[in-house]
Symmetry: C2
Subunit: 383 residues, 2 copies
Amino acid sequence: MSVTAAKGFTAAGIAAGIKENGNPDLALVVNTGPRLAAAGVFTSNRVKAAPVLWSEQVLKGGLVSAVVLNSGGANACTGPQGFQDTHATAEKAAEVLSLNAGEVAVASTGLIGVTLPMDKLLPGVEKAAAELSAHGGEKAAIAIKTTDSVHKTAVVTRDGWTVGGMAKGAGMLAPGLATMLVVLTTDADLDADILDKALRDATRVTFDRVDSDGCMSTNDTVLLLASGAAEVTPEYAEFAEAVREVCDDLGRQLIGDAEGASKDIKVEVVNAASEADAVEVGRSIARNNLLKCALHGEDPNWGRVLSAIGTTSAAFDPNRLNVAINGVWVCKNGSVGEDRDLVDMRYREVVITADLAAGDQTATIWTNDLTADYVHENSAYSS
Amino acid sequence: MSVTAAKGFTAAGIAAGIKENGNPDLALVVNTGPRLAAAGVFTSNRVKAAPVLWSEQVLKGGLVSAVVLNSGGANACTGPQGFQDTHATAEKAAEVLSLNAGEVAVASTGLIGVTLPMDKLLPGVEKAAAELSAHGGEKAAIAIKTTDSVHKTAVVTRDGWTVGGMAKGAGMLAPGLATMLVVLTTDADLDADILDKALRDATRVTFDRVDSDGCMSTNDTVLLLASGAAEVTPEYAEFAEAVREVCDDLGRQLIGDAEGASKDIKVEVVNAASEADAVEVGRSIARNNLLKCALHGEDPNWGRVLSAIGTTSAAFDPNRLNVAINGVWVCKNGSVGEDRDLVDMRYREVVITADLAAGDQTATIWTNDLTADYVHENSAYSS
């Protein structure tokens, strides 16, 4: 499972002491080859954490031998010291693994604005390297958790090759990637350009459409590493589909574990004039705090859906809008439709279908409800 | 006080039975002249309530004799029936006041997607007309309350003339106007064009920068009526300042009474390259749910401020950003600044200053914190 499901990878997850509670907080993933191809997608937030700035440079070469990931501190907004710390982390991994530091990606997650305890992190890298194993994927996935209640992994196996991965993220999930660290691995034999295309095609319709609370992180990182160990080169379409499937699975797990949420909400926008319109409308609905509160209260409040659609620039006629909640068309032609009492709101998953009656394009955005628990989790502690 | 502070206006507020709990729910404001000039600003939501569609037409003439306002139902997303109901309301007021229906503006607030009980509303108009008085401003302000805990009025008096007004709004406060109904009156002798300019200049920097929860209503309406009864024509600058002062006062009252809020948050953006940049950054900070939760928890979490700034397209260098919370510069040059423990978060008002170090333009946005009470108020009942 996880990042070691594909051949040609070892991983480890250990407690380095970065987290004060002693939980696992450092993961290492190593590509043992024969190929060392890689691609990465990073946060579009213009305030980027030091490890993002570092790893963006590393990925430009299309070659990654190892990834060091830590929870317990985001190393964001930490100035020149933060960048030096990331650099030192990569150098340490390179030293103990006999690699070039320019092939070591780094990813961090946790509190913004606090420097990392390097006296614990650097020995941690050494310790993790000593524990690398072809069965270490689960431990690595556990070590990157922050407020996640469970660790997240996914695997898809095709004819002789595999794509697997791990993810962490439980809040600050938003477009331009949710607040997530994701490492995907494959033993398929593919070059960096193909990996890059497959990763971008997949994240655009999966992680980029997970929008738990509208907040965009400074640290989002999604990496895809290929070892070539399966000695198989799949067709692009088949490979891209497998990557998308793994991303979709992990994205769904992120929404299912979002901080304080009691509902997973699938916003389907149909009959839009363009995909961009569908995404804009889906995001507007997904970010409407009043609607998210109503859904938490199991109130199929379609008026708040219309109100959210009305703030967009998408093509639609207000008098032709239709909205279904869990399959009941509670709004027809911009006005009262079927009886809202027919909507069954008891289950965790809620499906909102917004029909713009303006074309044939669609998009799906996933979000969560807004709850007192979310407020509590994000007001009671710094995070 | 309120809409009857200026000479040339009568008003009334009564219980018509639209609200099931028997509270006041219908207000009438009448301009007794000699002048009947008026201007209006309406929601920029493309899903507009029937009374907004009606009143936009009325205001095109620049002449308003009376305004009928009801709480207890928004008459939004009610289809052709909704528009007929608004029309009937204006006709009824015109009949009992011997006016032309085309001079009667209508405004509604309450639940979306439910038609109004016209069998109660129309007799209510008659009853309100019978109670019109030059001292009826307070009662009118009370009758337009929905979840407001207090009614809101403001008055500014200058040399021989007055601008007064009333407002309602407690949630769904957002740009393109907060969810609000506002009626302003003046006895200054000014024509509709001047009123329109003064009203737009004022709302742009007041109501339009009140952003409690990022949700934009289908019903927002701000009207300014001039009676000319003071027989004074002030200079434009002086008049515009008085209108802005009244709008600012009412806007501050709206934020202070926002549903479930425990903090009133002033987001000041300074040293922006343009006013548009300052507004974009201010709104992004004001809408960040994670930050709003942190401030509720009295946590001066500047990392979430930087994270919000980073999602904008404003001109700035991440390494030159400075952030103060209640006057303490907790972030300097994009990194850790003064000790966050110096920030005193005990009071209801919180001031966040974001220094973009990119120019000399500024803007201020007002918002609230995100609380469990907000979630409760908006999930426990339809609204």
